[in-house]
């Protein structure tokens, strides 16, 4: 799959309290969560971002809380991809579980805010202007999750096939 979008650059250690502050966590509606996404750093982000835009981060993106409200808020704004040098473990897991694609590539120093980049999700090749970068391959199990349509669909499929007792 090819994704093409405008870059929103954020720095290193973008934590979940920035992505969605805790005072909004009683909210479960994705759209309402999206309205507070990145609020402490960029209060107008939710208004200026467009569906298809791509977030580019530095290292340790998504550190902090286990709150799934974070990938939910990002996805609710129509962002389908985050590229970062590295991701915090729980956020990485949550992203794939919720169908938000995450690629590990160190491009934050080379792309500019607002620049249009093109990403081939299957090969991990990222292109912009005359430049090219390659993301780390997605682990095979994560690929299996994406192919199944996220963890819940993966579980549904397993339950239907009788792999687990409960249902």
């Amino acid at each position: 799959m090819i994704l093409k979008g405008r870059v929103w650059k954020f720095g290193d250690n973008i934590d979940t309290d920035i992505i969605i502050p805790a005072r909004y966590l009683a909210i479960t509606d994705p759209k309402a969560l999206g309205e507070h996404c990145m609020e402490p750093l960029a209060p107008l982000f939710h208004k200026e971002v467009k569906p298809g835009d791509i977030i580019v981060g530095g290292f340790n993106f998504g550190c902090g809380s286990s709150r799934e409200h974070a990938p939910i808020a990002i996805s609710a704004l129509g962002i389908s991809l985050i590229i970062a040098k590295s991701f915090a473990r729980i956020f990485y897991r949550n992203g794939f579980n919720k169908g938000l694609a995450l690629l590990e590539a160190n491009i934050a120093g080379d792309v500019e805010d607002g620049e249009i980049i093109e990403v081939d999700l299957s090969s991990g090749v990222i292109t912009w202007k005359d430049k090219e970068a390659k993301a780390k391959p997605i682990p095979p199990f994560m690929e299996e999750l994406i192919n199944a349509g996220g963890l819940i669909n993966y579980l549904k499929k397993n339950l239907e096939e009788g792999k687990h007792e409960s249902i």
Binding site: D15, L25, T28, L151, S166
Partner: protein, 420 residues
């Protein structure tokens, strides 16, 4: 090749004789935990899956601790959903009202986590239980749904980093100072995806309360779990609480570690993490004169009886500074009762502290102690990210209970020796 304690627990739960870092395993879980913030999303997913029952009603735990006692209508509605689900599915370990404490203090205290267990929780500080020689890690709500339905989870076996502590601790220094020292040294992603194992005679000298604090903050270094050897202190702690059998695992001598750090306990002073990362660590003496508006003594990091005792020793016969408020939060009803019995509440009240019921509220800027623009707090909590405790332009300094109590008295960041 030998295995670490973490690898042994993972192997045993995956029905394997041997596992190695990088391997993806399908493992049986002993417990799945969620709270009033994360459980509502888990329950939504539970419905989407079309599941009709949980894998074991004794092994799913819900603790309503973050926005409780409920701060608003939305949080009350969320708690109601969890309550109704718990009644419908006969969830044994549903905690609220007067039973409810900060989850990571509550579960070990109630004997719900035992050595050798594999625990997953929809809260990043689930890693706290590593202090008991269990493998415990934080995940998202959807992962907990998967665990609630199947009794299993998928895990990547982590690499291992060992921290060996030798020597004797300085006065007032606790587990919080050690873990802040480590995070300051390796950074907030220094243990990304890895297991952090703690060993050495200085670790053995630490109380269980201090060990919980250390394991709790493994996540602040990016760690997957923090874990301790099971010793006599662990067994003593578990003995009064365990209601089922458990297994003690120990790392082999030839187990493989990505890195090994040797730490001189005596060189560690009272540490403070400055805004806005837990790795921005300084010695307390470097922060003299920094005014403090609010002090929080509590949370899953430092709301245990040892922490309250240290605070009471320092606050006894003294008062908080004129323009500094100090909020003390015993982490569970049992700790609350114990603090009351030992006379700590009298000390806190005379020192003009606010005593709060057990709640996670202020730690995450939820309720019971929100900061205004430009305000500064010293908190015994575990995170000081931008806007963590309120306004994006407020600041949080993280410390252990001794610095927090001394700072409350002085109204500035202080070492206990400055007020005693």
């Amino acid at each position: 090749m030998g295995m670490t304690i973490t690898e042994k627990i993972l192997a045993s739960h995956a029905g394997k004789a041997y596992v190695e870092p990088g391997e993806i395993i399908d493992a049986e879980i002993d417990l799945a935990l969620a709270n009033d913030i994360t459980a509502p999303l888990s329950l939504e997913e539970f419905e989407k899956v079309g599941a009709t029952k949980v894998f074991d009603n004794d092994k799913v735990v819900f603790v309503l601790d973050h926005f409780t006692p409920n701060k608003d209508i939305l949080s009350a509605e969320n708690c109601k959903k969890i309550r109704e689900f718990s009644i419908k599915h006969s969830i044994t370990h549903f905690y609220e009202g007067g039973q409810c404490g900060v989850e990571h203090a509550l579960l070990p205290e109630a004997g719900l986590v035992l050595p050798g267990d594999l625990v997953i929780g929809a809260d990043s500080h689930t890693c706290t239980y590593g202090a008991l020689g269990a493998f415990a890690t934080g995940m998202g709500s959807t992962d907990i749904t998967y665990g609630m339905v199947t009794g299993r989870t998928w895990l990547k076996v982590p690499e291992n980093i060992k921290f060996i502590c030798h020597g004797k601790w300085q006065e007032w220094v606790t587990g919080k100072d050690l873990i802040l020292h480590i995070i300051g040294k390796i950074g907030v992603d220094g243990a990304l995806y890895a297991s952090m194992e703690f060993d050495g005679e200085a670790i053995a000298a630490l109380s269980m309360d201090s060990r919980f604090t250390i394991a709790n903050m493994a996540i602040e270094a990016g760690g997957k779990n923090g874990i301790f050897k099971v010793d006599e202190k662990t067994l003593e702690y578990v003995k009064e609480r365990s209601m089922r059998p458990y297994r003690v695992f120990e790392s082999d001598k030839d187990a493989k570690y990505r890195e090994v750090y040797e730490i001189d306990a005596g060189s560690i002073g009272l540490n403070v993490a400055c805004p806005s990362l837990p790795s921005n660590v300084k010695n307390v003496d470097e922060l003299k004169g920094v005014h403090v508006d609010q002090v929080i003594i509590g949370s899953c990091t430092n709301g245990r009886i040892e922490d309250l005792e240290i605070a009471a020793r320092i606050l006894k016969g003294r008062k908080t500074a004129k323009h500094t408020r100090c909020i003390v939060i015993p982490a569970t009803p049992k700790i609350y009762a114990e603090a009351l019995k030992r006379g700590f509440f009298e000390v806190f009240l005379e020192a003009e502290c606010i005593i709060s019921p057990p709640t996670c509220g202020p730690c995450l800027g939820g309720h019971m102690g929100i900061l205004a623009k430009g305000e500064r707090a010293v908190a015994t909590t575990n995170r000081n990210f931008i806007g963590r405790m309120g306004h994006p332009e407020s600041e949080v300094y993280l410390s252990g209970p001794a610095v927090a109590a001394a700072s409350a008295i002085k109204g500035e960041i202080a070492h206990p020796r400055e007020v005693l």
